[in-house]
Subunit: 243 residues, 2 copies
Amino acid sequence: MLMLQSPLTRKLAAYVALSGADLETLARLHRRRRSFQSGHELIHEGQGRASAFILSEGWAYSYKLLPDGGRQIVDFHIPGDFLGLRSILFRTADHSIEAITRIEATEVLAPDILDAFAEAPRLATAVLWAASRDEAVVVEHLVNVGRRSAEERMAHFLLELGARLALVGAGDRTGFDCPLTQYHLADALGLSAVHVNRVLRHLREEGLVTFRNGRVDFDDFDRLKKVAAFDTGYLDQDGPLLR
Amino acid sequence: MLMLQSPLTRKLAAYVALSGADLETLARLHRRRRSFQSGHELIHEGQGRASAFILSEGWAYSYKLLPDGGRQIVDFHIPGDFLGLRSILFRTADHSIEAITRIEATEVLAPDILDAFAEAPRLATAVLWAASRDEAVVVEHLVNVGRRSAEERMAHFLLELGARLALVGAGDRTGFDCPLTQYHLADALGLSAVHVNRVLRHLREEGLVTFRNGRVDFDDFDRLKKVAAFDTGYLDQDGPLLR
DNA sequence: CGTTGCATTGAGTGTTGTCAAGCTCTGTGG
DNA sequence: CCACAGAGCTTGACAACACTCAATGCAACG
């Protein structure tokens, strides 16, 4: 079945052993293919009856705006991620999501997903697991912003992104392609763009990482991990828990 | 049925219309009553095959430790909260949970919850929703720490806690009882304990809030909301989405 | 009546933000 | 082909917010 190729399907199947019927139900969620250009806002904070999306190609990010114009980026999304689950579970979206690059995604309406859960109960458990993994990422992000210095934050962030991308085959110990701007980094890490620039320069001069021209190069992966006190535990997912 | 009184049951039923059978399955999760004294560690980061808990009385908090001894508090838990869901969904717990006051809780083992989902599929959706609401709280916490000044952070935090407590009848516009120390606040807000003290003093001197002797008093609720740019949207939960 | 946990305050330091300017690229229209 | 605009990046100077260190107060408790 073609949809076995979907990155989300692969991810879920890695956690919960899904039956043929489950997979078929999951495949039906992948109708409604859409593509959006860079900068398109998929979900707007406050919007009612929003859709969710399964991202198959490109990068997006979710964020919240503050009354004073500030922006906090909550998470970056890469292929295989389920976007905006909370926006369909809640009456009104509590965050916004915007495409960073041109993206390919399938749109999932609220009834689609609720019907799918009724039809294939294991799917609900699998999605709960995926949502929990996303939450773990946000939690680690919170730790990062709350308790680490600017330099540690940056180092940790780049390593984490690298680890997540490596899981879907889009990066390794040498580095990864990265379409983010320094403004994205600033708003994700709770820093000013100016300071992000200073920190990046320092990390580069120390021979740790180089972030330039849409590419992150880990110049000294092991030393960088040390600076960041980086540990991948919260990303782990070996073998299905539910058989 | 007695268990209709459980705060978690109330919370879930408010979101997803649950059948009698669903409620019965949910009630069966409430065997294994436990009580723990203040300071007891319910879940330890790194621990394998941990339990989850449904909190019925008292306060707890979840946190992560850093290699340098620092601590980031991720969330505080009050009656009706489901604790440690991620620790049973994952192979190993990615965070720790400790009792702040003496607490009453029921222990939930991994098979309990997975069997319950198989038996009563709607329960899985309901728990997914509860988990999403918790995630929304963490996200707002991240925004708070990432993009607000120390004073705004504190104001926002106290208002949020008040709003959550008000939902379970443990607080109102005048204030609430609060067993937290200034160290808890510091580790939750990403500040030093010393600075927390200064910020609290300033808020008190401005006539906004008073935090003293285990009690938070909102001296000027409306002005405080203004300082914090506080909006409860992310806590909303009017009426069942799934009927 | 010492000890322990928590709260408070002051002094000095430093990390990070703000403001301001200039740079490099890229794409676009004249 | 050149001028220009705009987005993103870079740097310096200065200010401020928040941290550390250190000392003290205060209550509860054994």
